[in-house]
């Protein structure tokens, strides 16, 4: 009789870590007081205002894993006046 499927321990730990990170990132990047206008933060040239948090986290995973950080950039938060 095959054993019932279970979530692998490593998968569970990775998911819990992602959830904790998602709780943090969603607050720090998507909430909080915006004083300097509509700042635009982009990762890899993709405007984060138009991508979901899961995409952001996946991108960050890759960037952190790769350790280069070279594909991140952002526009001047004060905008062009």
């Amino acid at each position: 009789v095959p054993e019932p499927p279970v979530v692998r321990k490593a998968d569970r730990a990775r998911r819990e870590e992602r959830m904790a990170l998602a709780e943090l990132v969603s607050r720090v990047v998507e909430r909080g007081v915006v004083l300097s206008g509509d700042l635009v933060v982009s990762v890899g040239g993709v405007d984060l205002l138009y991508v979901g948090l899961d995409v952001l986290l996946a991108t960050m995973d890759q960037v952190e894993g790769g350790g280069t950080g070279s594909d991140k950039d952002r526009e001047d938060p004060e905008g062009k006046e």
Binding site: D11, G32, V33, V34, L53, E78
Partner: protein
């Protein structure tokens, strides 16, 4: 010199000596009229790295742990010089002063509610990646089941709202994409009610053994400022 702004605090509130911010930059306190500011001098705007985001949050938590409830800034509030920072502050200074007074004594608590069976499905899907038919069948099943997710998220929030009563001053409900949970709910709670809050959420989770309730917090009130 440029300034990265972490949070607004009552005037006179100062970071402890040695508090490090993004990229290890020292954190200093400034007073501008009725508001205090915790900032780091930075030549350029910080990049949105995970380490930077964690450092930003760590500084704001330090302000919260010092006693007063800060107004947390969204990551990336950088100004090329102090004059520009002050100009922006003056536009909304009265509103921020009122918000500080309104939030004083409160913290943000959170709960992320997860459907373990959903995670099991995701895990199986990943394990069977490459098996085209199983993968497509799994996706179709997820799509069918996702239709009821928003309704479930709202029902879970409603259940917590009733249980918490006056313990929660405000709430913010965010239904989640599959894989990250069913819903993330933030509540604004008096510091003195944190223990009561945790107990209520624990009881709610006990009554839903089919779901996992992950409590988070206390947080600075990110979800209750604009």
């Amino acid at each position: 010199v440029g300034y990265h702004l972490y949070c607004l605090v009552p005037p006179g509130a100062r970071p402890s000596k040695g508090l490090a911010g993004i990229d290890g930059a020292p954190v200093t306190g400034l007073d501008e009229g009725p508001l205090g500011l915790w900032v780091s001098e930075m030549e350029t705007a910080p990049r949105p790295t995970v380490d930077g985001i964690r450092a930003h949050d760590r500084v704001i938590r330090a302000a919260m742990d010092a006693g007063s409830t800060p107004l947390p800034m969204r990551f990336g509030q950088w100004f090329s010089n102090r004059r520009r920072l002050v100009d922006r502050l003056e536009e909304k200074g009265a509103a921020y002063q009122a918000a500080l007074a309104d939030l004083e004594g409160s913290v943000e608590m959170g709960v992320r509610i997860v459907d373990p069976s959903e995670i099991l499905r995701d895990s199986l899907r990943e394990q069977s990646a490459g098996s085209g038919r199983e993968f497509m069948e799994g996706l179709a099943r997820l799509q069918r089941e996702s239709r009821g997710r928003d309704e479930l998220a709202q029902a879970l929030a409603e259940d917590l709202r009733k249980r918490l009563g006056a313990v929660a001053r405000r709430e913010r409900v965010e239904p989640l994409e599959p894989g990250l949970g069913v819903v993330s709910i933030a509540h604004l709670v008096a510091r003195s009610e944190v223990t009561a809050y945790r107990q209520v959420v624990e009881n709610a989770g006990r009554d839903r053994p089919d779901l996992s309730y992950h409590r988070t917090g206390p947080w600075p009130p990110y979800s209750f400022v604009e």
